[in-house]
Every structure is written in structure tokens, then in C-alpha cells.
């Protein structure tokens, strides 16, 4: 299939622990990365995302399975013979070389002549907004600038694939958000696939064409950011991405009955295989109900009302003692003022916005 640039087939890796046991970092992972795609590997630390990245770049040798890049078997190729470049977490710029020498390194290694090299370095630096910085040493640059040099160095040889290992984690928040957008733009311009590793779900949602959520060495879900957010396949994905209210119970027609007696309405759907399920309601799906609104509601006692700028976050508790979090737009100040007085709220929701998670992961 020509549409895939990277293909992993049953890729497995286990690491020995100092205590003599072993930890599974990759558990028979199958993955297809499409051409010209921005794919994010998202997961908590220790989920195997960095191992997966290093297996593609060649720094981790697989115990089993294979890796194909552009239909070529790369499983046993050393890193320096793979058409892949990496942007490292701490940038890994060569401190004894200038910015220009750093960026030119892969061309120099490949034996590109000096004048051509100089030209390409200039255009790569221009691409990341660092024109004329060739002569500086990495130490003379700010963190954000070093990040850009690392980026220029990794893209100058036009690899078939660019790997980014939490490259933004050391930057401050504003710079990080600016870089997120720039990275996405750059990826479009270059027309090569990016595989981006992060533990920051916001980052994953912002930039990616598709997100792979990893946990325990397995891909839990691989889909577009919206699909992952709206239709998580299991409770791990639901809780890892965004805030969530989960209600476990048994299905009964268009209702889900929890063990403590709550009824959550949902849209009836055809695939009713299991009677046990979990209902997911995102905080922003709640709204403050007017008295005669034709929507089901959940009554809560409010513990806290937090103003976060564009929204209010309401932390409440149902009569059964279940914690519920809701997010309401801050432009509805009068309503919020009223519930601030009473410390009670009726949280309404649209049954069509309730997502059901089946017992065995199937949605």
C-alpha cells in the first residue's frame, strides 16, 4: 500500500528491570502512518510512546515484529541508515559547532558540496525564522531558538519522516502554543509525515491529524482528535483526554441506570450488545437549565465555582455523593450569580451528546 509511509507489524519490546523482571514497552503494536500526516503518540509516562519512536528511528531494537519505512524493511537497519530524522527533547545541538555547522551536519555527512550546503542551510534557517544566525553558537541562543535550530537540522536533508520527541516540553506556555501552530504549518509546507510524541493532551488535540493514545505498551485508540475526544473507545482514553464525567451502569432502553440509582438518558442506538456500559458526559456538554427546559438534568450541590476566564468550572456533588464537573460559558454571568447564591445547580444535558462506552472497549 503506497499510502503508508511507516508500517509497524506486531512490534514488540520488553525491557529488563534491575530487579530481574521485565516490563513490556511495546505489546505487538500494529501501526500505519500515512503519507503527509501529523500523527501524535499520546500517553502517560511509561506507556511506551518514546520506545515506539526510538524503534522507528532505530535506537531501540525490537524483540519481535517488523518496521517498514516507505515499503522498505528497516527492522535491522542502524539509525544512521534510516531515512528518518529526530528532534530530541533537549534539542541535542552540538555545542562545539556553530548553528550553521549544526544544521549542515547531515548534508556534510552525506557529502554535499560546500556551496550547495550553505544555500540549503540558509533556506532551512529561514524556514524556522532564524535567518543569518549561522555563525552563532548554540549556547548563545534562547531555548526557543535552540528548538528551531534542532528543527532546521532535522528537516534539512528532507527525511521521509520527522520524529519529534516531546520537543516543546521545555518551552514556556506562550512559546509552546506559538510553536505548535508553526510546527503544523511547517509540516504542511514540507509535505512529510511528522510523528510527534507528547504527554500533553492539549498539544495532541491542537496539532494532529490523528492521535494514537498509548497505555501499557498498546495503542488504545487511533483516530482523529475529534473522534478521540467525542467517542473514546474505553474509559482510559475518556479520562486521559480532557475532563470527563463517567457513569457506570446497566442499559435500560434509552436510559443508563447506575448502581446508586441515577438515570442517564442517551440516544438509543442499534448496537446494544452488552447491558453494562459507561456513559460519558464532557463538562462543556452541561448547561445551566432554565425551569421549563425540555432536557434531562442532574441536580448537584456545588463545592466550588472556579472562574477560568472564558468559562466557569463548576465542581458539584449529586445527592448520591457522586462528583460532577461542568463547564459553563462565562457570558452567562447572571445564571452563575444565581447558583453562587444557592450553592445548588441543575445541570442539563442533551441525550444526543452522551457517549456510551461498551464494557469491552467497543463504543
Amino acid at each position: 500500500m503506497q499510502n503508508s509511509i511507516v508500517r509497524l507489524v506486531e512490534a514488540s519490546k520488553a525491557f529488563a528491570t534491575p530487579e530481574g523482571g521485565s516490563v513490556t514497552a511495546l505489546d505487538r503494536i500494529d501501526l500505519d502512518v500515512r503519507r503527509n500526516e501529523f500523527l501524535t503518540l499520546l500517553g502517560p509516562s511509561g506507556c511506551g510512546k518514546t520506545t515506539l519512536l526510538q524503534a522507528i528511528s532505530g535506537f531501540v531494537e525490537l524483540d519481535g515484529g517488523s518496521i517498514l519505512i516507505d515499503s522498505e524493511d528497516m527492522t535491522d537497519r542502524p539509525p544512521y541508515r534510516r531515512p528518518v530524522n529526530t528532534v530530541f527533547q533537549n534539542y541535542a545541538l552540538f555545542p562545539h559547532m556553530t548553528v550553521g555547522e549544526n544544521v549542515a551536519y547531515s548534508l556534510e555527512v552525506a557529502g554535499v558540496a560546500k556551496p550547495a550546503r550553505r544555500e540549503k542551510v540558509a533556506s532551512a534557517l529561514k524556514m524556522v525564522g532564524l535567518e543569518g544566525m549561522e555563525g552563532r553558537k548554540p549556547r548563545q541562543l534562547s531555548g526557543g531558538q535552540q528548538q528551531r535550530v534542532a528543527l532546521a537540522r532535522a528537516i534539512i536533508a528532507r527525511p521521509k519522516l520527522l520524529l519529534l520527541d516531546e520537543p516543546l516540553s521545555a518551552l514556556d506556555k506562550n512559546l509552546r502554543q506559538a510553536m505548535q501552530i508553526e510546527l503544523k504549518t511547517l509540516q504542511n509546507e514540507l509535505g512529510i509525515s511528522f510523528i510527534f510524541v507528547t504527554h500533553d493532551q492539549q498539544e495532541a488535540l491542537t496539532m494532529s491529524d490523528r492521535v494514537a493514545v498509548l497505555s501499557g505498551g498498546r495503542i488504545q485508540q487511533l483516530d482523529t482528535p475529534r473522534a478521540i475526544y467525542d467517542h473514546p473507545v474505553n474509559t482510559f482514553v475518556a479520562t486521559f483526554i480532557g475532563a470527563s464525567n463517567l457513569f457506570e451502569g446497566t442499559l435500560d432502553g434509552d436510559r443508563l441506570m447506575t448502581s446508586d440509582g441515577m438515570a442517564i438518558r442517551h440516544q438509543p442506538c442499534e448496537r446494544k450488545i452488552s447491558t453494562k456500559a459507561t456513559a460519558l458526559i464532557r463538562p462543556e456538554q452541561f448547561f445551566l437549565a432554565e425551569d421549563n427546559a425540555p432536557f434531562p438534568t442532574i441536580e448537584v450541590d456545588l463545592d466550588q465555582i472556579v472562574f477560568v476566564g472564558s468559562t466557569f468550572e463548576l465542581f458539584g456533588r449529586t445527592a448520591e455523593g457522586r462528583k460532577v464537573v461542568a463547564e459553563v460559558p462565562a457570558n452567562r454571568r447572571s445564571l452563575v450569580g444565581a447558583i453562587e447564591q444557592s450553592r445548588k445547580a441543575r445541570l442539563a444535558y442533551d441525550p444526543s451528546a452522551v457517549h456510551l462506552i461498551g464494557e469491552r472497549g467497543g463504543a
Binding site: 535506537f59 529526530t86 551536519y105 553558537k137 536533508a157
Partner: protein
Amino acid sequence: MSIASRRRFQLGLLLGPVSAFLAVFFLGPLAIMVVTSFLAPGLYGGVEWTFYPDNFGRILGFADPMFEEFDPIYIAIFLRSVEIAALTVLATLVVCYPAAFCIARLSERWKNFCLFLITLPFFTSLIVRLFVWVLILRQTGLVNEVLLSSGLIERPLDLIYTKGAIILGMTYVFIPFMFMPVYASVEKLDWTLVRASLDLGAGPVRTFWRIILPLTAPGIAGGAVIVFIPALGNFVVPAVLGGAKVMMFGNLIEQQFLAARNWPFGAALAMMVMSVMLVMMIAQVVLSGRRGRAAALAR
């Protein structure tokens, strides 16, 4: 007192004892040596207080034939000493550099154990350790005995009292001096840079020359200087393992002071060694100073 001047006062207080000690017991004798090297030798040892440049003339070739005779042997011995010291630097580096990489990758506990092992020789007398080499290398020594009894050779090899024996002994003595600075820079090496190089398409050999070697070069330079300088002036190793056959500059100086009792000439010879060392040290300071300034600029 301002904070800055109090700081300076405290610093002076801390540096005072060592400065005083070095002034009295290093700079003083050094000054005496410099003066002595320009004085005439006394008939029965000691010096005569007249300006007498012929000590240097005897070594460098501008001696007044009335008093002293130029002999190229001194320059020859000096060059041989430089050669032996340089080869010692090379040999210690070849031994220590790979070892430093191995030890740097061990766990903390094994690391400390290995570092302890490397300093262990200091606990034994240098002379004793060198005489062990005599026992190993001499005509009836361990190596020859083994080779003879195994039938590989028919007559014992000349191992001791050769240049090779001196280099071997010097390497043995100076390994810890090379190891420490080399290890310090190897341990600091950031391995993600090595990964980055491999990732950018450079193979292991090129990665070594372009990344690993330049980044560990300060340690190699430091080790080279602190091995080369004492190796150049060393007289114990050549005395024990070189015998009368292979002489180094250090033996020559010792001979002039103790046997020939020509103090001014001995002092002049010592000045020659000192000037070479001084040039080397200045070069090192200038080079590392340039690096330091670049670092300061970056901050």
C-alpha cells in the same frame, strides 16, 4: 567595609598560606636556579660569582671554546626525552581513553570501585613498583623465563635497559594522571549528542571523529599536559629501567648536581626543560582561556 572588599579580604585570607608557602619554597629556589644558571662553576663545586653564559652555550652551541665545549649530545638527549615523554602520553592515552568509556557506563558502585583501583598504586612506593618491572623484564626475568621454557626463543631478549622499557615503566607510572582528566570529560559526555549524530546519518566512525573526540578533547589535552611535563623531567624511571644505556634529561641534570658537581650547568639544563614546559602550559592556558571566554560570552 563593603561586601566586595570584605569578600576580597576573606579570599586573601584563604589563599594566604598557600601563597606564602609557594613564594618561600618554590619561587625562591626557582630564582636561585635562574641566577645560578648564569654563574661560573667553582673548581670544587659551588659557584663563582661572574656572569657566565657558556652553560647555555654548551647546550645550544654558542660556547666560548676557552671555557666550555659545545656538545650536541645534550640536545640529542633532550630530544630523546621529548620523544619518550610524547610516546608515554600516547601510550597512557591509548590505555585510558577506552577504559574511561567502559568505566563511565558502569553502575555507581562499580564506578567508584574502579576509580579506587586506579588510585591504588599510589599506596605503594614508586621505587618498589619499578623494581618489580626489573624482575619481570631482566634477562633472567619472568618474561624471558616463560619464553625460553616454552621454546619460542633460544636466547633471552634484551628487554630491560631499552627505550621501550622506559616507556613501559613511564606508562605504568603515569596512567592515573592521564586517566583522571580523561575520565572526567568522558563521564560528562552527553550521549544524546551521539544519538543525534547517528540519527543525522553519521556512522559510528564519523560520529567518533566529529562528536565524541572534540567533546572529550579538553580532558585529553589536560591529561597530555600533566603526563608530558613530569615525564619529561622524570629521572627515577630511566634510572631504574634505562640503566646507564638510555639516559633522559632528568638523569643528566641529576648527574650534574650530584656527580659532576657542576651546579650552574645543571641549573642551565633545568632551565631548558622549564622553558619548554612553560611554553606548553601557556599554550594550554591560552587555548582553554579562549574556550572559557566563548562560554562567558554565551552566558
